[in-house]
Symmetry: C2
Subunit: 225 residues, 2 copies
DNA sequence: TTGTAAAATTAGGCATAACTAATTATATAA
DNA sequence: TTATATAATTAGTTATGCCTAATTTTACAA
């Protein structure tokens, strides 16, 4: 009985606040939360007050919200389920990496603790999902890495793709077709080709990737030459 | 876009009405639906009117409801998902037959068409779930069988367990321990042992099963001797 | 410093799906 | 046939979680 069950909505808010405040360390603003969840700003204000009263967030009017310890734990639990499900759907049921996100978005709210455990066992307690995102462990701890966006590295650098962010199936499908996948080695040949595309070398092939898309590709530089 | 998505509640009502009206062929009464779903009678009246207005049930005040063609199709879809999930959890993730029902009760509402298909493929398009209940096919057709409850057969009869009904985990666990499982052969030795128990022979062992529990065991008689 | 635009909030509603209390219908027994 | 118990309904309330419209706060630029 350790878990009071949260509503689907509340879990989605916690995830959104995590995404928005984690990297920056600052409060997630109402408007950004509204955009993430495709709801209006007043809906967010209302929910933040509710979450505050349940001890899940720290809320300052006109500033935004951050997760409380309890809210963070809850967000990690949902994130863990999401990413375990993504990997499971790919490994067990042969779904492709551009399909798994939407399924996981629903299933993350429907898993019991027991089922979560069985899936983690089946997968061998993995640390990363199909997009290279780290999977929180059972106590909510997550691997922190120093990653840079592909758009931020210098021409001539060679890097390894660590994580591909963003949930747009079309974009993910495009990346898959172009070999932009976690653990692939990439050399950035030219940062400004065609006024807005990056020219890359992946698996002995030359590829062009738009700047907007490339901003979602997080890499670890292995050779500055 | 063929499926307007139904609420979890609506799907649960359709399932309950199916359970209550299918065998008997008559209307499912308000009170029985309320019991099945653990809600009050006024809640049922209200929901039946809503389902009627969406064309999912035929509702006669003071009589009850039956499923419309559309409601029946929807109920079969949910039932198919429920039973596929039960079997999948057992076969793929090693959950025992007394654990799978509660999980499926939630997941049946969270599966996409695509995921349903993948699971069915993984399982090889099965016809029965772990409890021996038939799984509707994609067009909603279901295998109809002539089954009798274990409590209805004569002493001396030998029968094969076809289906174990009821969702109580304790009862299912009990049946598992006593070998009362689909496809097992049973001989009914005595209908009135201990004033209320059935004396059975299963796998060369003698077992006693209470009348209430035995009413959930549906069999096909293979030998009247 | 003040005006304006953006962001956030309050106020007031709506739909869903539950509830209780009160009333009405139906079926059964005297 | 009538009294009564059971079942079902209506009426009115509640909690979620969303919405729009109006107002207030904040931040930035002239």
């Amino acid at each position: 009985m350790t878990n009071k069950s949260q509503s689907v909505s509340a879990e989605d808010y916690l995830k959104a606040i995590y995404r928005l405040s984690h990297a920056s360390g600052v409060h997630a603003p109402t408007k950004r939360i509204a955009e993430e969840l495709a709801v209006t700003a007043p809906s967010v204000t209302g929910m933040l007050k509710k979450l505050e009263s349940r001890g899940l967030v720290h809320y300052s009017p006109y500033t935004g919200a951050t997760l409380s310890r309890k809210g963070h734990a809850r967000a990690m639990k949902v994130l863990r389920r999401h990413r375990l499900v993504e990997l499971f759907l790919q490994k067990c049921l042969n779904m492709s990496w551009d399909e798994v996100h939407d399924e996981a978005e629903v299933l993350e709210h429907a898993l019991s603790d027991k089922l979560e455990r069985r899936i983690a066992d089946w997968l061998g307690d993995p640390s990363f999902d199909p997009h290279g995102a780290p999977i929180p462990d059972e106590s909510g701890r997550i691997v922190e890495r120093q990653l840079v966006a592909l758009t931020e590295i210098e021409a001539g650098c060679t890097a390894v793709v660590a994580e591909v962010r963003g949930n747009d199936a079309t974009m993910l499908s495009y990346f898959k077709d172009h070999g932009v996948l976690p653990n692939r080695r990439i050399t950035l040949l030219d940062r400004g080709a065609y006024g807005g595309s990056l020219k890359l070398r992946i698996s002995r092939k030359t590829r062009y990737v738009g700047r907007d898309a490339a901003a979602n590709v997080m890499v670890e530089v292995i050779d500055e030459s």
